[in-house]
Amino acid sequence: MIEARDLTKDYGKKRAVDGLSFTVKPGIVTGFLGPNGSGKSTTMRLILGLDAPTHGDVTVNGRHYRDHASPLHEVGALLEARSVHTGRSAYNHLLGLAQTHGIPKRRVSELIDLVGLHEVARKRSGQFSLGMGQRLGIAQALLGDPKTVMLDEPVNGLDPEGIHWMRNLLKGLAAEGRTVFVSSHLMSEMALTADHLIVIGRGKLIADTSVDDFVARASQKVVLVRSPELERLQSELAGPGVEFLAGGRGALEVHGLTTEQVGEAAAGAGIALHELTPQQASLEEAFMNLTRDELEFAAELEDVVA
């Protein structure tokens, strides 16, 4: 469980995180979504106490991260920025972390095997590829068998097999009752993994919702309709805020109306319908629609200030 209340972080004059309040619940995968530079990594650093908030507060499993007696058993984190000494081997990096908590050496080997780094575990990590570095970070996050797992852009640099593995792993961790908090700037990735979404833009909360609701809410009202009397239907439906696009082969895409509105209008005019389908926005479109407003607003504001 992660609870943020009015979490705010300024770096000089720049506000990186702006009054975020949210709760990340155990037992599900919560996606933390936002464009690059929207404050996701900063929020994660605040959660871990690496950076101190300017205002507000954030706790993990009921306490500030710093106040836990066994932090690695409470939260396992993969940070976006490199956090391994390039001259040290993966094995020694993990061993050094394990020793702070008295975690045995065989646990280190176990995690190295789990992420498939066995053959390179004794090599200097500075020679690792991006994907290997990412696997080491995942081993580090899981070392302490933590109640809460927090991963910043975990699929970065992973091959398709690794991405698939990661999805299953995250779902498995959540199914075991852990809190799983995963950031990404890719909506499509979150759609396959996450149950719940926390969306931020410019450091502000944009949405805190289930994935299904998010799509429904962000979808534009677009309806695909087929009818033998398309022209008459079009004149019945015409009005302010309603637009039409030719859908091809006797179909019409109606923008700005729901399926109910189209269906009732057709019934009222006695027009037969052969198809009436709500067009769901893709997750990526939904995400763009939500964050676009935020970005446009910010851009306008900057123009005004400048």
Binding site: L48, H73, S83, V84, G96, L97, G144, D145
Partner: protein
């Protein structure tokens, strides 16, 4: 590289412990010994600490016959024996800075502070580990230097000095103690500056640039102040003869220790407060 294990299930960890200081000391020791460049630097520093006085002794011995009286007067057997301390202090100081600054430059400090979010135990553990390592390496180095240089200079009675001669034992071990304190001071600087180049430059400024600058002061000021600078004060630990404007070995050692305490105290306050 192995394929990723197909079972994407995390094995449970049966016994869960807490952060213990003993563990942090062990962890910092693992980190210290597991970087190749650190091991090499320590090994090279160790060898040079011995090699430098030996070369010095050979040169003195072979040229003794042709040296002027002034030149001869400038050669003291203990100074020859402990000439390696100057090499050792530089190696230990650079590594002391690196021990912390490299954590920042590589980003491993984020992992370190995620495991020990209270942060201060990390500083104490680094301090203890590094002090022990530098002392344990320097003691045999200066002992070997002493007896080796004495053996090389055996033909010259005037360059012989007994290990039990008053002040000699203290100077030899004092040399090792001095190097250890320099390492602690440098570690503190590294934690304050958090940058390798900056940390080493600050160290060099305080130890090697500041003392000659004192010569621009009026002589009475220079005499009053210079003896309290860390290099000058600390050097008394391994100096046999003490003049009018130098501290005693004990006082000099305490002054250098006070500089170390101040550097570490500032480092500790900043370590807890600053974002990483």
């Amino acid at each position: 590289m192995n394929a990723i294990a197909p079972a994407a299930r995390l094995p449970r960890l049966e016994a869960k412990g807490q952060v213990a200081f003993r563990g942090v000391i062990l962890s910092e020791w693992t980190k210290l010994r597991s970087v190749r460049s650190t091991k090499w630097s320590l090994a090279v520093g160790f060898l040079l600490t011995i090699a430098f006085p030996i070369i010095f002794a050979f040169a003195t011995s072979s040229h003794w016959g042709t040296m002027s009286p002034q030149d001869r007067a400038g050669r003291h057997p203990l100074e020859i024996a402990l000439a390696g301390v100057n090499v050792a202090q530089l190696a230990i100081a650079v590594l002391g800075v690196l021990l912390i600054s490299a954590e920042y430059s590589t980003g491993s400090i984020r992992s370190t502070f995620t495991a020990v979010p209270r942060r201060l135990p990390v500083l104490w553990a680094k301090l203890i580990d590094y002090a022990v390592v530098s002392f344990v390496l320097t003691v045999p180095a200066v002992l070997i230097s002493f007896f080796a240089t004495q053996a090389i200079l055996a033909r010259h009675d005037i360059l012989q000095i007994s290990f039990t001669h008053p002040g000699v034992t203290r100077s030899v071990f004092g040399g090792a103690l001095y190097v250890m304190l320099v390492g602690i001071f440098a570690l503190g600087l590294g934690a304050i500056v958090r940058n390798t180049a900056g940390g080493i430059a600050t160290f060099a400024g305080i130890f090697f640039v500041l003392p000659p600058l004192m010569n621009v002061l009026p002589l009475s000021w220079n005499n009053a102040i210079s003896q309290y600078l860390p290099l000058e004060a600390g050097s008394q630990l391994f100096t046999l003869h003490h003049g009018a404007h130098t501290l005693t070995p004990l006082a000099g050692g305490l002054v250098l220790a006070a500089y170390c305490a101040a550097a570490i105290a500032i480092a500790a306050v900043l370590l807890v407060r600053r974002d990483v």
